[in-house]
Subunit: 370 residues, 2 copies
């Protein structure tokens, strides 16, 4: 029996995607092979990877002057690749300037890694109130090579309501946990990146969307695999070495599913309904409350706590809630180990029925514990 | 209908593995989830990743003082990680010395990448005879941080008959295309690495087996994701960020399959029978011949050509052979684009029936074309 999976990533995938991948496991499109067995240079796989790119371009309305890359290493590797390609100098430690906004643990990790290769300045932070809001973004510094934000913060459940105006300075965005969840104007960014394991497919694929003029500036000491220009060679895009083929195939099926639902506008509408339902419940509950300030609430990741003053009792009740929920078929509701509490991640593939069922379960838990 | 797939990688996988992964796609081990949907921090996934490590350690007899890592980026990323961790200095270009043996295109790529971070000396090469043999390996240079070889050369079809004696200098081996194909004494090496997409599972997982004393020496400017010590933290091995979970799961199923066959000794026996069958046919054929000198023939990748003098006729016949073979259900027999000709990759999962059927097809082709 399927469970309701509220994992922050890897996370729930659409059942039709899983069913199709299972059905095609021994023979995909009449090739007599699983996609896992296909040569990445074969015509059959070229159709799959080109199809995934085309569908992503269409769904996100990606302008023609951006490359779409399917890489490995997750957002964590992009934390290094972004400064190495956009700001690095003749040696580590002597690169150009870059502005970072600190909105959580991942944003901080990105800045710490970049500081090895760029002159990083953290321009604003919401750490003072446990990252429960998005701070006001100052204008770029003169000479900034880029300006980095995490658009949706998976752990703390915030998202940017309005993007910083950065003029000619390329805005770089980590969209790992919000890609395809609602409309996004790609042309406002110089570079976007996302680990696939939330809204796109399995872990092991990283999507990079990069404007052409930002490719080709890495100094010669940057590892070959970490240079964007290694992966943008005409006729061999994302094919310098063997790409994560099966993940790309699953991503293609997920993109088909999004198209079938009516594309990003339809998905956005569903996500807003789903999130509103859950936030409304939290706002009216006497036992549970959300932890994020209203204007910055994520559509994807909703952290919450129990409103019990005594710390020991609070911890006990939260631990028990997560455990009882798990037994009832609502899994992965524990908050990130660095922040505690609970978190419901409700990505595109989480059906509204899952939210309704969770709310019912929480109402029952509330009744039993007040 | 399944085909006989002679791809050099990604390549054929055992049918029982594919059947089980299809059967478990919507619900794995009673969790109500696909492995693609599991939180990588969940108990369920921990069982999967720990199980894969335990099985690999057992099958390869990996000593306790080696870490086993499941990373991303393929062997190509190891071409950088090896020098960055074992030889790099205070800045790029000022590292320690390292010896490389040039036995083909990948060995050359490894040396070229390493030269950015280490004082690389290519100590021997078989380029003079189109990489059709393994050259004699000289002793390490005094001061070498490590000594690098590619144990099995996927493109040209050679393998080391006897490893270089490197004394205290760590021997580093790329075993992407021969891991688990025959017995290998891990303790002779300081570090081994392998892309999974040949004998282990789907692309997107890279196995690194590294001796403890070689971890922890990367200078601070090396990207966090490219430091071995990032991935060896006790209790979080291969878990600094989200690993390629589904690939690791499939690898675990493949390792179960190898165990079920009787482990590496049984697989080695099968591989030797399979290769002998095909080499015997090539040695006795009037139309086809292998391209590798006998003492250095790979068990896994067998390149061959047609023995037609006229170059144009040769090319025409080889192209036609690959095409007719494809139509008959023997796919991916074209040689690597850099060397041409044909190549049959016969990894662990290629059954002996596939070799026999291919030989029959080649005998028929030979009869029709002489």
């Amino acid at each position: 029996m399927r469970v309701y999976n509220f994992s922050a990533g890897p996370s729930v995938l659409p059942v039709p995607v899983l069913e199709r991948s299972a059905a095609e496991m021994l023979d995909t499109n009449g090739t007599g092979q699983s996609v896992m067995e296909m040569s990445h240079r074969s015509k059959e796989f070229k159709t799959i990877i080109d199809g995934a790119e085309t569908k992503l371009r269409e769904l996100m309305k990606i302008p023609a002057n951006y490359k779409v890359l399917f890489l490995q290493g997750g957002a964590s590797l992009q934390f290094a690749m972004v400064p190495l390609n956009l700001a690095a100098g003749d040696a580590p430690g002597v690169g150009k300037k870059a502005s970072y906004i600190d909105t959580g643990i991942w944003a901080d990790r990105a800045a710490v890694q970049a500081a090895e290769y760029a002159q990083v300045e953290v321009r604003a932070s919401s750490k003072d109130r446990a990252y429960s809001y998005i701070p006001t973004a100052p204008a770029p510094n003169p000479g900034d090579a880029y300006y980095h934000i995490v658009v949706n913060n998976t752990i703390v459940g915030t998202k940017w309501a309005q993007f910083p105006e950065t003029g000619d300075v390329p805005l770089v965005g980590d969209i790992s946990s919000c890609i395809l969840s609602e409309a996004l104007d790609v042309s406002k960014f110089g570079l976007l990146y996302a680990g696939a394991q939330k809204n796109l497919g399995p872990s092991g694929v990283t999507v990079v969307i990069v404007r052409d003029d930002l490719v080709g500036h890495a100094p010669s000491w940057v590892p070959i695999m970490l240079r964007y220009d290694t992966h943008t060679v005409e006729g061999s895009v994302s094919m310098y070495n063997t790409p994560p083929c099966y993940g790309i195939y699953i991503m293609g099926l997920v993109l088909d599913w999004v198209k079938g639902l009516g594309g990003v506008p339809a998905v956005e509408k569903m996500n807003k309904e789903k999130a509103a339902l859950f936030y409304d419940y939290l706002d009216n509950s006497k036992l549970f409350r959300g932890t994020v300030e209203k204007p910055f609430r994520s559509l994807m990741n909703i952290p919450f706590v129990v409103t019990v003053e005594d710390k020991e009792k609070k911890n006990e009740m939260e631990t028990r809630f997560v455990k009882e929920a798990h037994t009832a078929g609502f899994v992965n509701l524990g908050g990130h180990k660095l922040v505690g509490g609970m978190r419901a991640s409700i990505y595109n593939a989480m059906e509204i029925e899952g939210i309704k069922a969770l709310i019912q379960f929480m109402e029952k838990f509330e009744a039993q514990n007040s």
